[in-house]
Symmetry: C2
Subunit: 247 residues, 2 copies
């Protein structure tokens, strides 16, 4: 019998979702607090035999937020053997009494990272069986996460920033109607630096993914900014074909 078929050779697959939301000009991430270890963790899950990873991730996202049809993308596989050694999630699983199968817990876990961009207002955080809380956390207030989830979060952000240059971003993150300053704040938050207001507007508009609406946003202070909505047709085209050609 070949090595890789032995019982001890089993590698279990899980997935972790980095669910981004945007609120009060802050980028937030949906986190769970584990029942027993009290550690904070990214929402995760397992794949059913009849599902693709993408379907499993979408299911996980829906179970934690109630949201469907969201931009959700795999970005990296995390497979360091050590990542599941000091596995507090395993402790939580054990303590939960969900399954006392010692053998199963001793397996090694390889996790596929997904990230999603959702509308903060529309999401309804719901914790799962292993956790007792589900909350939005601003990036700055996130400290130590369970296992290698800090790394996973970092990699998600890094990927998102890269994609920012060739994919349209914002459709699921912002409300239906939004202002140019709001969109700019989103980009600034994601990139981690200030952008020139006028150059930003010129660039975004050149992508033709926005529809300009009537003047509104009268509630705010000072001059009322115009409202925009995404032009879904062009937006989706840009998602498929990218915003600019390489080289």
């Amino acid at each position: 019998m070949a090595d890789f078929m032995k019982e001890g050779f089993l590698n279990h697959i899980s997935l972790d979702c980095v669910i981004f939301g945007f609120h009060n000009n802050q980028l937030k991430v949906l986190l769970l607090q584990m029942k027993y270890s009290k550690e904070w963790a990214l929402p995760g899950g397992f794949v059913k035999e009849t599902e693709s990873m993408e379907e499993a991730a979408a299911r996980t996202l829906e179970e934690r937020t109630g949201l469907r049809e969201i931009f959700l993308q795999q970005f990296h596989v995390f497979s360091e053997p050590k990542r599941s050694k000091i596995n507090h999630a395993v402790k939580d699983l054990k303590n939960s009494g969900a399954g006392p199968d010692e053998k199963w817990f001793n397996q090694r876990f390889i996790s596929v990272g997904f990230y999603a961009l959702v509308d903060f207002e529309k999401a309804t955080p719901m914790h799962d069986f292993f956790s007792e809380k589900c909350e939005w956390k601003a990036l700055e207030e996130i400290d130590r996460l369970m296992m290698d989830h800090n790394q996973i979060l970092d990699k998600a952000l890094e990927t998102l920033r890269l994609q920012l240059s060739y994919l349209p971003i914002g459709y699921n993150l912002l409300p239906e109607k939004f202002t140019m300053p709001e969109l700019q704040k989103l980009y600034e938050t994601l990139l981690g630096r200030k952008l020139d207001r006028r150059n930003f507007q010129r660039k975004i508009l050149s992508w033709k993914i926005l529809n300009k609406l009537e003047e509104q946003k009268k509630g705010g202070a000072y001059k009322a900014p115009f409202l925009y909505e995404f032009n879904l047709e062009n937006y989706n085209t840009a998602l498929k074909e990218g915003l600019s050609d390489p080289m």
Copy 2:
């Protein structure tokens, strides 16, 4: 006992490597021909419990080519449930007598795709236990591959093309010393379109990843082009930090 812990819930992980080489102005891929089904397939493998996926991929690459320390990157997870249903690899495994464990073969396989760029001249193709041939195939002559390996190859190319715009490419693909036309042919092949000779040179040189050497390449026809080598220091910096800023 939770669903995902049941025996039937096992998802097995494998990896597939898309190993690119460049020869005679053609992009080539290293393929294996299976012993029993005679189908052509990407080199693949399994992960040991003590390895990361990256280490397993590097091991697979070395076993098929003899090469180490090569640019090797994961690019996508392939997890459609159907992908392992009509699994000729499984037939091959069965027929090989490697392990008649029916249960194991009935598992579902999720595969992590890696791609590598290697020097055609330095690689020594070696087939594995399940295959009888290991050969370089030009992209054009690749027809039907095993399972979803056509998809995997397509996705690898797509990823490579995207990376072309923000990562330096060529170090492991070309010999130590090469000419500007050779580098351009590589880019043209990867992008699938012609580039202007003079503009290409201007762009590449602006990246500062090349060292210009003495005039040589006297063997060829017509005017002798200059030889270049990669400036490894700048090359590696560019690999980490990218060639241009997003937005």
